[in-house]
């Protein structure tokens, strides 16, 4: 049990800190959440900056402990996170790196690392959410192309994406996990319609994508035909452990801000509120330790299910954090004013127990894969 950095980690952390201190002041102004072209340019620009400084592949080239230090330090320094590069860097990229041909890796990976191309994810469908393998978007073979029809939903960054990692059904007669194929679809292909979806927070965070006889070259298939489910599992397991490092750091900072704000406005004198914040401090400290634990396991190559355990507790804790923030904001309707800090976060935190596998599904995963309980449903 050792929580201190190794000499290499000390060196990496120091070098990164020094570089961030120089790089961040020249960062352009962050665009508004509704400015999609602006967001694209901003996120790609940051990735390019990282690439030029030698940090471009830290999300998938590096040892998990190094990646964790990177995420911790960049968050503490107030640097941008991956943003529109999320799918490219954390989902599609690693999948192509693991499962793609040499030609595919050469075509798709460098533009992701250099901040030149944006990817989006076409997995969920209106009738395939938690039951992802029930997806129905059809792809039939026609010469050197697949012809794809169907619809996808919850596709973040669809408006500005160049590529979509797309799951399609290539064999409707096979058992549902066996007839799925993974394709890279160019987003400028004819037949694609993107319709933004407004979230409860009032932002156009994601979109529906309608596909009408879209032609995707067979050469864009990663993995074998009908082997897409296995390929997908590679993708989904990738970010386990480190996905939320930056967010836990950020939550701990918010908690400190809440305490200061409460002392400022007198709410700190309420022992119930004070103790509630104390309990949240225990929660987020422990979540940070659990992250370190999971990363240590990942460094040793232990597959582990730490990801599901972490996500279950973290998603809930994040919601509780912003519920407490509403308490801190106190009387006078501040907690209902979207201009106040934390109010929008309270809204967006509601997605955490749903996105990337609902808490209910995560419970079943933990029960079946860790505790060995029989398959339910």
């Amino acid at each position: 049990m050792d929580l201190s950095d190794t000499p290499q980690e000390v060196e990496f952390r120091a070098r990164l800190r020094e570089w961030l201190g120089k790089a961040l002041p020249s960062l352009p102004t962050k665009p508004s959440p509704d400015d999609w072209p602006g967001r694209r340019a901003y996120d790609l620009g940051w990735q390019r900056t990282l690439y030029d400084a030698g940090y471009g592949d830290v999300h998938w080239g590096a040892d998990p402990a190094v990646r964790m230090i990177f995420l911790e330090e960049t968050e503490k320094a107030g640097a941008p996170y991956v943003g529109a590069n999320f799918v490219g860097l954390l989902h599609a990229g690693p999948t192509i790196a693991a499962e793609g041909t040499g030609e595919q890796r050469a075509r798709w990976l460098p533009p992701v690392l250099r901040g030149e191309e944006v990817w989006c994810q076409g997995f969920s469908e209106p009738d395939a959410g938690s039951d992802l393998a029930a997806l129905r978007t059809r792809a039939r073979r026609d010469g050197d192309d697949y012809v794809v029809s169907g619809s996808k939903i919850w596709t973040s960054h669809a408006e500005v994406a160049d590529w979509c990692e797309l799951l399609v059904r290539t064999d409707p007669d096979a058992p549902k996990h066996r007839g799925i194929t993974w394709l890279a679809m160019p987003m400028d292909a004819p037949g694609i319609t993107v319709r933004p979806l407004r979230t409860l927070a009032g932002t156009d965070e994601f979109a529906e994508v309608f596909l009408d006889e879209v032609r995707v070259p067979v050469a864009n298939r990663v993995g074998e035909e009908n082997d897409g489910w296995r390929v997908t599992m590679v993708t989904l397991s990738f970010e386990r452990g480190t996905a939320f490092v930056g967010e836990v750091v950020a939550c701990r900072r918010v908690l400190g801000e809440l305490a200061l704000a409460a002392r400022e406005n007198g709410r700190w004198d309420d022992p119930v509120l004070r103790r509630r914040l104390g309990r949240l401090n225990a929660e987020f400290r422990a979540l940070w330790r659990l992250t370190q634990w999971n990363v240590s396991e990942a460094s040793e190559g232990v597959p582990g299910v730490g990801g599901s355990v972490f996500k279950l507790r973290y998603s809930h804790a994040r919601q509780e954090l912003y519920e407490a923030a509403a308490e801190v904001l106190g009387e006078g309707g501040a907690a209902l004013d979207l201009e106040q800090p934390w109010v929008l976060d309270r809204l967006s935190s509601l997605s955490y127990t749903i996105a990337a596998g609902t808490s209910q599904i995560q419970h079943s995963i933990v029960a079946e894969r860790v505790l060995g309980l029989p398959k339910g449903r």
Binding site: M1, D2, L3, S4, D5, T6, E9, A65, M68, L255, G256, E257, L258, A259, L260, R263, R274, R275, R276, L277, G278, R279, N281, A282, E283, R285, A286, L287, R289, L290, Q292, W293, V295, S296, E297, S299, E300, G306, V309, L312, R313, Q360, Q362, H363, S364, V366, A367, E368, V370, L371, G372, L373, P374, K375, G376, R377
Partner: protein, 298 residues
Amino acid sequence: MRFQLTDDQRALRAGVRELLTARFGRERLRAAMDAAETPELDRGLWRELGTAGFFSLRLPEAAGGVGLGLPEAVLAFEEAGRVLLPGPLIATHLAAGVVPGAATGETVVTVVDGGGVVEWLGAADVVRGDAAGAVPMRSADPLTPLHRVAGPDSGDRTDVLLTSLLSAAEQLGTAARVCELAAQHARTREQFGRPIGAFQAVQQLCAGILVRVELARAAVYAAAVTADPADIAAARLLADEAAVRGARDCLQVHGGMGFTWESDVHLHLKRAWVRARRPGSVTECEEVLAETLLSEAR
């Protein structure tokens, strides 16, 4: 960073588990609780624990100890918690090197540490703190005799912190054990023609127990490494929660059997309740953690 257990730590954990399984298995547990109205402390076992280094674990080798640190102590106490090992283990461990005979298991030590009750007063050779006017009570835990006592704590902050940490380690052991018991029962008990673990409502209970165990484990181990008061407070809060709620949910998974004297689940719950009442209460921990927010945000 290598937060995982070292090979030596794994070996130590395995060794303690082996010793405790051999010397305090389930039969011994049941025999101990059925033996008498007021449980007796097994002096032979106590000396064996002493010989094995349980009490002298953190004493320097020059002083006749094992020369290990808090992480190792936490692993040993986690194992003790798993099997519900009875006795004033923490008080005796903390008295090693201070009270003659404590390190070797010759002397049984208990402490009055301000929690309003004192454990194992009758069996102790040495009582640290003021136990004057102590009144015996009918203990909810059949394996932890308790006296009510008015005395204040010893005033030794280090001892209070270490008691909290080692208590959290015991709670972690209990939490991990009830998680296993719940999963075992859910896998084997059949209703409606299938194991009850196939029902999502039961899966949810079991998964919830595990999530609390894993979070508590990370917090307890980290606190053992840093010995930081806020880390210890966090570990204590999460381990108490993991043990008490875990035992209650485990009892629920067991259904009617869980409500019987014959089941072990209630023993875990009752011990978890005793440990949760030890000094360094929920309120104190939460206040420490709240205050830390301010001092760290400044």
